[in-house]
Amino acid sequence: MPDSMSAWQLVASGDATLFAIVRLSLAVSLSAVAIAGVIGLPLGAILALTRFPGRTALVVVLNGFMGLPPVVVGLTVYLLLSRSGPLGELGLLFTPTAMIIAQSLLVLPIVAALTRQTIEDLWSEYGDELTAMGVGPSGRVATLLWDGRFSLITAMLAGFGRAAAEVGTVMIVGGNIEGFTRTMTTAIALETSKGNLPLAMGLGLILISLILVINAAAWGVRAWSEQRAG
């Protein structure tokens, strides 16, 4: 990425390095959100629909973890994956996989906590009806996740926003290696510290545009399916 060019010139000239960075950023954040969704949606729903000792404490902790500091998550994953750490043999540190793992951990509490709230609210409306129809525990989870799908898209977007915007975990566990683990946010941090403010600002605008496009697409999907399903 030539330093003399502005971000828009890079976009216009189809700069390969820039597109690799954008692609990696999207791949890491979307993978992390997908993983967090696969785990967090059912987890949040189960937490909403079950009662057990310590549940309240768990809900409070989960809500609190929505504000986990990225650098702390990064540091924890770093320690786990570092050569002398318990998962060091996998050799994952400073790879995109490590970044996905770290961002998944960051996004999981957001998805799970918002799902828990959504499903609990839905249950107060649906509870009697589903009980009367003899719907069992797994059926309840599936039915409410499906009927709450429009609100849950928003929960997933909140998770994506968090992942796409953060720099702490990807910097620590990815290492900002050019051409391999450099993302939009770590590139912005780097260019800023190098004093290349126009490029950093340009990259920031590209990142914001991407986030807006993805949110708009999700909104479109939501509106379209709401139109069809009522």
């Binding site: 009697d128 009980t131 009367a132 129809m133 059926g139 399903a229």
Partner: protein, 240 residues
């Protein structure tokens, strides 16, 4: 499709439901067997809804025992419930019924045909693909009826299903209920509309302030009420 276990007779043995010092239901004992529709009648706050919820197994009574065909497990085997304001699932009318069939263990094969049959029975065939939440109040109530009937219930409990419907929609719902009754489903339905009670009831449970004060055939209830409260209620006086 299901074990031949019966949910009848529905038996209440000194059942009470208390909220603090107030008795919502006060020592109710009765048995409901198969036959013509039973209408649960009484002013607002007399405990009709609570009676139905306990009859369904949705609420556990604070005292006494309820049994269905001699069993005390609360999981609805052959019971269905129609709420005053039913919850429509966020999917099409047809899919709402398919869901009810699936929950009742109806085999996947033949489900589509059964959905059509049920939609036809409640006059909603042409709205099969419409999102259920876009239907009018009366249409939603009919769809909920079809969904309840999808369970092929032996007992159908209805909590004032026509309370917020206009006369045309009410008549439609009553016709479906009578049709279900004629095909052998036991109807237990709450109502405070005397006209409706006269049109539907085989027998009447009359409740006031959580107590069951009269249990009679519809004819006896209207011709020879044995309590002053029932007599006043039939005359149209205010019973508190």
């Amino acid at each position: 499709m299901r074990a031949s276990l019966s949910d009848l007779p529905l038996v209440f043995d000194r059942v009470s439901q208390r909220a603090g010092a107030t008795a919502i239901l006060d020592r109710i004992s009765l048995a409901i067997g198969p036959g013509a529709p039973t209408l649960v009648v009484g002013p607002n706050g007399s405990g009709k809804t609570t009676f139905l919820r306990i009859s369904m197994g949705l609420t556990k009574p604070s005292e006494g025992m309820v049994s269905w065909g001699g069993r005390t497990e609360t999981r609805p085997m052959r019971r269905a419930f129609l709420f005053q304001e039913p919850v429509m699932l966020r999917r099409s009318a047809a899919a709402n019924i398919a869901y009810g069939l699936a929950q009742a263990g109806y085999p996947r094969k033949g489900r589509a045909a059964r959905v059509e049959e049920l939609l036809d029975r409640v006059g909603l065939l042409e709205l099969a693909g419409r999102p259920a939440r876009r239907l009018s109040g009366g249409e939603q109530q009919r769809l909920a009826l079809a969904r309840a009937l999808a369970r092929d219930p032996e007992v159908l409990l209805l909590d004032e299903p026509t309370a917020s419907l206009d006369p045309a929609a009410t008549r439609y719902v009553e016709e479906i209920v009578l049709m279900a009754a004629r095909s052998g489903t036991k109807i237990v339905m709450a109502s405070h509309d005397l006209g409706q009670v006269r049109r539907l009831a085989g027998d009447v449970l009359f409740m006031v302030r959580g107590r069951l004060i009269e249990q009679a055939s519809a004819d006896d209830f209207f011709e020879h009420p044995t309590t002053p409260e029932a007599a006043a209620f039939i005359r149209g006086d205010l019973v508190l």
